[in-house]
């Protein structure tokens, strides 16, 4: 009996070791790498980003990266979170610029005033040399940098956290560093969409666990340097995350002929321009046959070879999909399947491979002042 128990214990340990070795999608919203699949900073709509350190005794250093929709050109900033601390910032459009504002004490002291007055992500990116950037829509990544076990719930002075990050940049080891990396149970985040200072809906970030097991030191984590999954998480973890996000199909329901309804497809980790993906669409109508067990498939349409998505963030209009069917009037409410989304350039897990993506169902509306607002935003469950 003892032998069986030993074998079982061994197997259990091996399983947990294997689990610890792999990145997994979090079910509790807590993780060590987080992605907000979409933000809007366009016309009347702003997005507030909030990052929580839910660990009551550990400090966490992290980077928040805003990536624009065309080719994921980024602007990032460091954040310094005490135990139980929160950081937030808001992106809004201001003329031709998208501006990030934050009055949070978790910002680096040297850029606190700049962020208080608003930092143009657009201008920052243009100054760096990028062209054709469009930050009005994009996505956000939260990268872990380091964790410190304070063994106390007391707030840690931000200057101490800044010094620790500086020490890491110099290739040295600050005190209280958790050398096994940032754990998967301490960070969570969300984005909240607002119009006229009224929050209309909130979207939790997609969280991953087991992505950070090596704390980096040196230039790779310097404030001014780009963020990148290969660098901050490692090639293996990047690959595992892409595998977790690789899917054959997305299904969602539509109503009101798909009016004001959109699916946002976010394809992380490509970071190059001219990305194209092809896909197939099947539109099903359920309104006239809802009592029947079978679903009548009126199409596939448009023709598979005619359907392409460009960029790292692609917004697909549900109304447009229905308009392209042979008889759009027939489709009032029902289900749409988008299948075989395939890379046709050598990005993510390769050319001709299924794309890795996060899909978000977004509904827009007009408020009483006739201003745009995000009525609903939901991450579509992975199949």
């Amino acid at each position: 009996m003892k032998k069986i128990v030993n074998v079982l214990t061994g197997l259990s340990l091996m399983t947990s070791m294997a689990m610890a070795d792999n990145a997994v999608l979090a079910k509790d919203g807590l993780g060590d790498f987080l992605v907000a699949p979409v933000y809007f900073a366009k016309n009347d709509i702003c997005t507030k980003v909030t990052v929580f350190n839910t660990n009551k005794t550990n400090s966490i250093l992290a980077k928040v990266a805003f990536r624009e929709q065309s080719s994921s050109n980024e602007v990032d900033l460091p954040i310094f979170l005490s135990p139980g601390d929160v950081w937030s910032g808001t992106v809004c459009q201001n003329g031709n610029d998208v501006v990030l504002s934050s009055i949070d004490d978790s910002n680096h002291p040297q850029i606190a005033d700049v962020l208080k007055n608003g930092k143009s992500l657009t201008q920052q990116s243009i100054k760096a040399g990028h062209t054709d950037v469009d930050f009005t829509t994009g996505y956000i990544e939260i990268y872990p940098i380091a964790q410190f076990n304070e063994k106390s719930t007391k707030k840690v002075e931000k200057e101490i956290l800044v010094k620790r990050w500086d020490t890491l940049i110099k290739g040295k080891t600050p005190s209280k560093l958790v050398t096994s990396g940032v754990d998967g149970y301490s960070l969570s985040a969300n984005v909240a969409f607002k119009t006229d200072d009224k929050y209309t809906t909130i979207l939790p970030m997609v969280a991953f666990k087991g992505t950070h097991d090596k704390t980096l030191r040196g230039s790779a984590i310097a404030y001014g340097n780009d963020t990148s999954p290969e660098v901050l998480l490692g090639t293996t973890k990047k690959h595992q995350i892409l595998k977790l996000l690789q899917h054959k199909e997305v299904d969602f329901t539509y109503s009101n002929r798909g009016k004001d309804q959109y699916i946002v497809f976010t394809y992380p980790f490509g970071y190059i321009d001219s990305q194209i993906r092809k896909y197939k669409v099947t539109v099903r109508d359920m309104s006239e046959n809802k009592e029947k067990a079978e679903t009548i498939i009126f199409s596939p349409t448009p023709k598979p070879q005619g359907a392409y998505m460009k960029n790292e963030v692609s917004i697909v209009s549900v109304e447009d999909i229905i308009t392209k069917t042979k008889n759009p009037a027939m489709f009032v409410e029902g289900q749409i399947q988008i299948q075989d989304i395939t890379n046709i350039t050598d990005v993510q897990l390769g050319n001709k491979k299924h794309a890795s993506f996060i899909a978000t169902y977004v509904t827009f509306d007009k408020n009483k002042e006739n201003k745009d607002e995000v009525l609903n935003a939901t991450n579509i469950p992975f199949k």
């Binding site: 290739g171 040196g218 230039s219 984590i221 340097n225 660098v231 490692g234 293996t236 050598d346 993510q348």
Partner: protein, 218 residues
């Protein structure tokens, strides 16, 4: 007597002009590394912020892989410039055998001797050149390297930057850490430098001077 072809004569005449210039990313024999000692390992962490400037006259960079490396981790990022990192990684300075592989194939882009599909180092040791295309960052990682492999190290790896006219890459910055097998380093250093008081420092200071470990074994 063997005849030398006209092409070879021209090559010999202009030989100095064919030499490629590779920036050295770090110097293990200096004091650029913080050394963290554990029971089984020496972890060397580059303790300076390092930047390298590139122009179209530069060819690339090189970095040294010492004996007894168990783990190697080099992270390279664009710094203060845009454009893509394109090029070839090889132990062969002439980059003769270029592979054509998909960027997502871990067999060519990661080394972990505990995993069958991650053997980039095997290709490098056979002098193949591995292409890297359109990257905003470069990560060269090697894990669980056994002694039978690391005894063949003490070699440079070269990254030749492919120059594309429209690319605006001007600077890179990088971080490095190297984990050495403590037992093997200590044994080796004691053999060659019996009077050494600080084995790891002696090992690093003499890294380019000593004979291969495996020849020492009788």
């Amino acid at each position: 007597m063997r005849q030398i072809s006209l092409l070879n004569k021209l090559y010999l005449l202009f030989f100095p002009f064919f030499l490629l210039a590779f920036d050295k990313l770090y110097d293990l024999s200096g004091d650029e590394f913080e050394i963290v000692t554990t029971k089984d390992s020496y972890k060397l962490i580059l303790n300076k912020q390092k930047f390298t400037e590139y122009s179209f006259s530069d060819d690339g960079f090189k970095f040294f892989l010492p004996y007894f490396t168990k783990e190697f981790n080099l992270k390279i990022l664009r710094y203060n410039s845009i454009g893509y990192i394109n090029g070839f990684l090889s132990m062969d300075k002439n980059f003769n055998h270029k592979l054509n592989v998909s960027a997502s194939n871990l067999k060519y882009y990661l080394t972990d001797y505990k995993k069958n599909n991650q053997k980039e180092l095997e290709y490098l040791l056979k002098n193949f050149s591995i292409p890297y295309k359109k990257l905003t960052s470069l990560s060269i990682e090697m894990y669980n390297i056994p002694f039978k492999v690391s005894k063949n190290f003490n070699k440079y790896l070269y990254f030749k930057i492919k120059k594309l006219p429209k690319n605006k890459l001007e600077y890179i910055s990088y971080s490095v850490y190297i984990v050495l097998d403590k037992k093997l380093v200590d044994k080796y250093t004691k053999y060659y430098f019996p009077k050494s008081k600080n084995l790891i420092k002696t090992f690093l200071k003499n890294i380019n001077k000593v004979k291969p470990y495996y020849k020492e074994k009788k």
